[in-house]
């Protein structure tokens, strides 16, 4: 008789993974693209649940924050803003199904072969294995464990990833920014430093005659 906790976590696992799979299928098959994106959000949430079951709470939270909070919302914006006709995009579906299905099947069979032959090289467990890098769970939260290596051991990669993001930003600006000389910009420094004599004029107005 298994412990109650194990039963609960097994039940949660099956619940989450079923929902991930179902919503994954719905993302592809839903007729309304907005529904597709919403199913994608559901899939992300359930995947986050799976991460939680594994004890990877940091990854779970990142998944929710980054994918649900940013990526899926961006998708939603794009779907709503661009008027894409998804019906015509779907037209070739049946035509490509046999070929695509075949490729998918072959990949699946290969993956089964690979995971079926899963053996670690014997030397692996001795040196350089993940267990020697990261402290065991329970001693330290995994957010802290990640932080410990990210800014020390993997400092180089952290900086390099920053450069990659910088380049992405430069690229986006280069490809989309158009400088328009006729736009009137507000120059606060000029406004503030304008002397009084440029902006107002004091006149003596004789009574009854106007300016």
């Amino acid at each position: 008789m298994p412990e109650a906790g194990l039963v609960v976590s097994a039940a949660a696992f099956y619940l989450f993974s079923t929902l991930v799979l179902v919503s994954g299928v719905m993302v592809v098959t839903a007729r309304n693209p907005v529904h597709s994106v919403l199913f994608l959000v559901l899939a992300f949430f359930n995947a986050a649940g799976l991460f939680l079951l594994l004890g990877a709470e940091f990854l779970a939270m990142i998944l929710v924050v980054v994918y649900v909070g940013a990526v899926a919302v961006l998708f939603l914006f794009v779907v709503m803003m661009l008027n894409i006709n998804f019906v015509t995009m779907r037209e070739g579906f049946l035509q490509y199904l046999p070929m695509g299905g075949l490729v998918g099947l072959i990949l699946l069979v290969e993956l089964v072969f690979v995971t079926g032959g899963w053996t670690f090289a014997p030397e692996v467990t001795m040196a350089g294995s993940p267990s020697t890098i990261v402290a065991p769970l329970g001693v330290m939260t995994n957010t802290r464990a990640l932080g410990d290596v990210l800014y020390t051991q993997y400092f180089y990669l952290f900086q390099a990833a920053g450069l990659v993001l910088l380049v992405a930003m430069i690229g986006a600006i280069t490809l989309t920014h158009r400088s328009r000389p006729d736009v009137r910009r507000q120059k606060i420094s000029e406004q503030v430093s304008r002397p009084r004599k440029d902006s107002i004029e004091i006149r003596k107005v004789p009574t009854g005659r106007g300016v």
């Binding site: 670690f120 090289a121 692996v124 180089y156 390099a160 990659v164 690229g171």
Partner: protein, 482 residues
């Protein structure tokens, strides 16, 4: 407390990154920043970094917790990449004047791309390999589509981006498999694990190896991952095509060599078959498809696929001699290709770029010096002695024969003959065909200087090749020892 990493081995990279940031800042603050100034500064920075690279004594040193290695091999390859990038920036300055396309982001992106390539070359872990590769690729996608108002340039950028992202995905998948089955991403650790005698190599590692090779084959545009090359080369602005043909290609070849010889050196029987097939296919397809091209940039694309095939012949040998041949080959290739693109940049009629091979007709009468330079490059690419291109091919094929890869060497020589046809056709068009409309008289100073430099190197390489041969030998020794 962890102590600070040793910054000295990575000093050239750090200087390059900081100069890139400063130039970017300058360009952003001074919105009227002169393009030429930024361009020349970029060239100077690249050359200064090159000098720095050569003066810092590389003792095969690791830094950043073993993620970064600086050895003689890295110095050799980085010198080629830096030189290629500097020449590409120089080539582009006049072009941008003429086309009124003065985007200050252009030299800066080349600078960051070069940084990415240097990180690739110095990678000693699968993680740093990937990050360097992405830094490089991201810059290249933007550069390909930098003429965002022309359809061809944006199309080239988009194609390159989609296929490049796919290939990065393949590479990452392979990396994850290798990590999953060996438990390490560090090259030295992988080499230790995979070269253990009587080790039953797990299936997953082999599949990971194939995926990694597929990803890298895309970056060096080897058949069957070459489809993007002709379109991107044709669509991208010409100076950028010149850059694509040189620096990223050399960096990707450097990476391929390091990965296959270093961490995966124990699996030489497995990867050798793949390299042989890819090399054969590249040589055959590259040379035959180039035969009936009319656009000179497409021709150069297929020619570069063919050259990749020859380079892989040396790698297929898997020996020190083979890698030595590869290094010589790509050194010579750098000069030939930059020179050829300098000529292509001179092809203008009525202030517009023309790209058809037929437009070269009668060049020997209107521009005898350019025609002479082009003839030298074409003869050299065809591998006619005593020009530099001949020695590249010689070393590569010799290494293949020493490793009993006779089929590869024979196919290589036969396809070289096919290649000679279309290279010599250009010479024939320049010297014997009547011109319909002569090219413009104008040539920029930078382009003229590059033509003279690369032409002289290609022509007189055979007189004094020792420095390069010695440097290549030292580089190979450090690659095989580490």
């Amino acid at each position: 407390m962890t102590e600070l990493p040793d910054f000295l081995p990575a000093l050239p990279e750090i200087v390059l990154a900081l100069s890139g940031l400063l130039l970017l800042l300058y360009g952003a603050v001074r919105s009227d920043a002169p393009f030429r100034f930024i361009g020349y500064t970029t060239v100077l920075v690249l050359l200064a970094v090159q000098v720095m690279e050569m003066t810092i004594e590389p003792g095969g040193r690791f830094t950043f917790s073993g993620l970064f290695i600086s050895d003689r091999y890295a110095v050799f390859m980085k010198s080629l990449v830096l030189l290629g990038s500097a020449l590409a920036v120089l080539l582009s300055l006049d072009y941008h004047d003429q086309e009124k396309q003065e985007r200050i982001e252009y030299p800066i992106l080349i600078l960051f791309a070069t940084l990415g390539m240097m990180m690739m070359i110095s990678a000693s872990s699968l993680l740093s390999l990937y990050v360097g590769l992405e830094l490089q690729s991201l810059c290249l996608y933007v550069l390909a589509s930098i003429q965002r108002d022309t359809l061809r340039s944006t199309e080239a950028g988009l194609k390159y981006f989609i296929l490049g992202a796919l290939s990065s995905g393949l590479l990452l998948y392979g990396v994850s498999l290798i990590y999953g089955f060996t438990g390490s991403t560090e090259f030295s650790q992988l080499a230790k694990i995979l070269s253990t005698a009587n080790l039953q190599v797990p299936m997953g590692v082999i599949i990971g190896l194939v995926f990694v090779m597929a990803g890298l084959a895309f970056k060096v545009s080897a058949v069957p991952f070459h489809m993007w090359t002709p379109d991107v080369y044709e669509g991208a602005p010409t100076p950028i095509t010149a850059f694509f043909a040189v620096a990223p290609k050399i960096a990707a070849i450097a990476l391929l060599l390091r990965v296959l010889v270093g961490p995966l050196g124990g699996l030489v029987e497995e990867w050798q078959q793949v390299v042989v097939v890819v090399s054969l296919a590249s040589m055959v397809l590259g040379n035959f498809a180039a035969l009936n091209q009319t656009n000179i940039k497409r021709l150069m694309a297929y020619s570069s696929i063919g050259h990749t095939g020859y380079v892989l012949v040396g790698l297929a040998a898997g020996t020190a001699a083979g890698v030595h041949g590869v290094l010589i080959y790509i050194t010579v290739y750098l000069f030939m290709v930059v020179g050829t693109f300098a000529v292509i940049l001179c092809m203008r009629q009525h202030d517009r770029m023309v790209e058809n091979i037929e437009d070269l007709a009668g060049l020997s009468k209107t521009h005898p010096m350019i025609a002479l330079a082009m003839a030298i490059f074409m003869f050299s690419m065809a591998g006619i002695p005593p020009l530099a291109g001949f020695f590249g091919k010689l070393y590569v094929f010799l290494a293949a024969i020493e490793s009993d890869l006779y089929a590869l060497a024979i196919v290589g020589i036969l396809t070289s003959v096919v290649g000679a046809f279309y290279y010599l056709r250009i010479v024939k068009i320049m010297y014997f065909d009547e011109s319909h409309e002569p090219l413009d008289k104008w040539i920029g100073h930078d382009i003229a200087a590059i033509l003279v430099g690369t032409g002289t190197f290609t022509l007189f390489f055979f007189i004094y090749p020792e420095p390069i041969l010695l440097a290549a030998t030292a580089a190979v020794a450090s690659l095989f020892s580490g």
